[in-house]
Symmetry: C2
Subunit: 439 residues, 2 copies
């Protein structure tokens, strides 16, 4: 290839790439999320980046969004299995559980932090390659309802740990809308729910028009439908509000009761941030009970940053077993990139290094190296500067990288070691055997 | 899609997938490697999984091994940029440095732990998707030679930390073979080095035949060539052995001097494991000085588990700057999968959980949850069992998952909490406020 100009090496649209200081912050987020998940007993798994295309479309995704892979310079027809990059972590998880069923222990709680790929048109908050952080709990036959609240608590703990404060956790239950529609005499509930799911995008007016043209509903019925979708409260008062609509149906009652239990189980952390919001539908998904969607209060147009719900049978497409579960996915890249763009993330450190050991002269490099080893043996992250360039250059380097301490070995034997705190500018004598960043 | 039988959900050849206990071990390896890299001042970066195909083949890899990606159901011709999955982390790193040059601080030391993809025929130690763990240090204009030894020390520290003891670190210097060939009057050094690189695969006899037919060399010259490639010693005696061959060339001398310095810089950790091995060539790579290859003593057929070297100009294909560097890559998946297969990795834990809190009855679930929260607040990883199934089932679950402690809340108020150590079988009273796994 000919040599390119620097300017021609453009980023590939939709495939985010971070500078070291940005990646340092992203990695801190990932570590924090992982530690919360692990503290609640979730084990980690990873699945390959690819699945057979048949598996990827097994939930009904027939899809130009999926990226297929094939060896370059090889005819695609020739290559036996058709493989595609996974577009979420739920389908691979379902396939994983089905495939390894006999080797797993139930209840099975796993977390998975991996990249996923979607060939969509890139725009703010929408990438072609991005990280998702998923947790799910699945069990044979029957999964207790209190776990639906548990999932909310765990995800809120994770969001708070990474410094996301201004969020709203919208929760509902698929049985509510479904039962309500049945109670109204509507039988093609899937189609109507699919339309209602567009409320956020096309508004009430758009939904009205679609329902009139597609289902031929009259305006009174549509109004009744919209009435329930307007209920969004931070407490159990949704029960009275739904009752006031006068529609009765056993499935509706079941959904309301489950949602009430969920709201009860999370009220101690709610602070008004957890909303029983009967408009959310998650139309394209396979949820059968609780459903979740999290939005950032300050950036409502970003879309949901977490979503999930309860499903009665995750692995239904693959094996004949009843495996109910509940799960949530955090859209890490979406919220991280937004926070980065808005300047809400501190990116002053370009590396996790605690101490830069300066090298005052070539003849002192061995000593500098020894100091590095001694500090490292005491658990510190230490870089020894690569050469004996002027001390001001070495200080400038530490400052630019955000390394908090610079260690100065003595110029000659008998003199003291000194350490400079780059944040305060103070410099003091130090002993490699007992100096600590905290003193 | 129709429901598949469990047995039909086969693994996709070459795309490894681990059970939870295997992944737990792999993650511990990754954490250990990361901590060693970070302790030496390396920052983390990640690059997208894809690069433009032109970038991927910029080092001369014209290659059916590269996986291209394209949206399913979309004609490949239509989709502007041709994108391929990266097959190593060096090419993306070079592109990254070139693209972000003005925003990086030099010397730039980065580590990168990511999956890479190669469409090769899968076999033992050879995957289509696998993890590599790379470190590189690059600098403007001139990079001190002592870093070539540093890289060896860091990688040995990482290998030891993950429990790889039986390895051999083969080191050489590109200038030695190159200078030696020039000293013998051979000018097409690249082609001869390419052939010599096959020594491990086709043996001396195969190399002889190839050299005779391709370069038309006479047997005496070939014998002279093979003589240097037979030198492999764990100390500086390679100097005398090369001198005894009677070939003189300035580049040869430079390479010998550099290799001698490298051997001197690592001898305090060598224990006979670091070999000056003049047969290694790394023919297809762009190294210009030190070269490294690590093999497992017990599994020589596995191929190299780490490789790397020094290059004079990493970003040469992209920008007009002189950026010398030195780097090594650990082939994590190759060695991990081998160790797993050979039973050399303990996989008794399926999760990092410290304590399972048992739930003696539904009415005590709130108490169990509180205990979980209290232990978690003290830094422990805690799972509260999902229901109040029989205690023996809960114990069996903890045992199968390898959770070391089970906490029993009292059946009724006023009684004591107790904790069972699952490894010793002992059970004792405990207080959630001060109990520790270490007591």
């Amino acid at each position: 290839m000919e040599k390119r100009e620097l300017t021609k090496l453009n980023a590939i649209g939709g495939f985010p790439e971070w500078l070291p200081e940005e990646r340092h912050a992203e990695l801190q987020w990932m570590d924090a999320i992982r530690s919360v998940f692990e503290s609640h007993g979730f084990c980690n798994i990873e699945t390959p980046s690819v699945e057979e295309v048949d598996v990827l479309i097994s939930k009904g995704e027939t899809d130009k969004e999926i990226y297929g892979i094939s060896r370059l310079f090889e005819d695609r027809e020739q290559s036996g299995q058709r493989l595609g990059l996974h577009y979420d972590l739920t389908v691979p998880f379902a396939r994983y559980v089905a495939q390894h069923y006999g080797k797993l222990d139930f209840p099975f709680r796993r977390y998975q932090i991996q990249r996923v790929w979607r060939g969509e048109r890139p725009q703010e908050g929408r990438f072609r390659e991005f990280y998702q952080c998923d947790i799910d709990i699945i069990e044979n036959e029957k999964l207790p309802l209190h776990l639906d609240a548990q999932m909310v608590l765990i995800v809120i703990e994770a969001l708070e740990k990474i410094g996301i404060a201004g969020f709203r956790f919208h929760v509902s239950n698929r049985k509510i809308l479904e039962g309500y529609l049945l109670g109204l005499g509507i039988t093609d509930t899937q189609e109507v729910i699919r339309v209602l799911d567009k409320l956020g995008k096309i508004g009430e007016r758009g939904v009205k028009e679609m329902l009139m043209s597609s289902s031929g509903m009259d305006e009174g019925l549509i109004e009744k439908l919209l009435a329930i979708s307007r209920i969004a409260v931070p407490d159990a008062t949704f029960l009275e509000k739904v009752a006031a609509l006068g529609v009765r149906n056993p499935q509706l009652d079941e959904g309301l009761s489950e949602l009430a239990q969920l709201m009860e189980g999370v009220k101690h952390v709610s602070q008004g941030r957890i909303i029983a919001d009967l408009s959310i539908a998650r139309g394209f998904d396979y949820y059968t009970g609780s459903i979740y969607e999290v939005q950032l209060v300050d950036f409502p147009k970003l879309g949901s940053i977490c979503s999930g719900g309860r499903y009665e049978n995750l692995t239904g497409a693959f094996i004949n077993r009843r495996l109910p579960g509940v799960g949530i996915s955090i859209g890490l890249t979406r919220v991280f990139s937004k926070y980065l763009k808005e300047g809400l993330i501190k990116t002053s450190r370009k590396c996790p290094t605690d101490v830069l050991v300066a090298v005052p002269s070539d003849s002192r490099r061995v000593l500098a190296t020894e100091i590095g080893d001694r500090l490292r043996a005491r658990g510190m992250k230490v870089e020894v500067y690569i050469n004996s360039r002027g001390i001001s250059d070495q200080l400038k380097y530490a400052s630019k990288k955000g390394i908090p301490f610079v260690w100065f070995p003595p110029f000659e034997d008998g003199l003291s070691h000194e350490v400079k705190d780059m944040r305060t500018g103070t410099q003091a004598k130090a002993d490699p055997e007992n100096w600590s960043a905290l003193t």
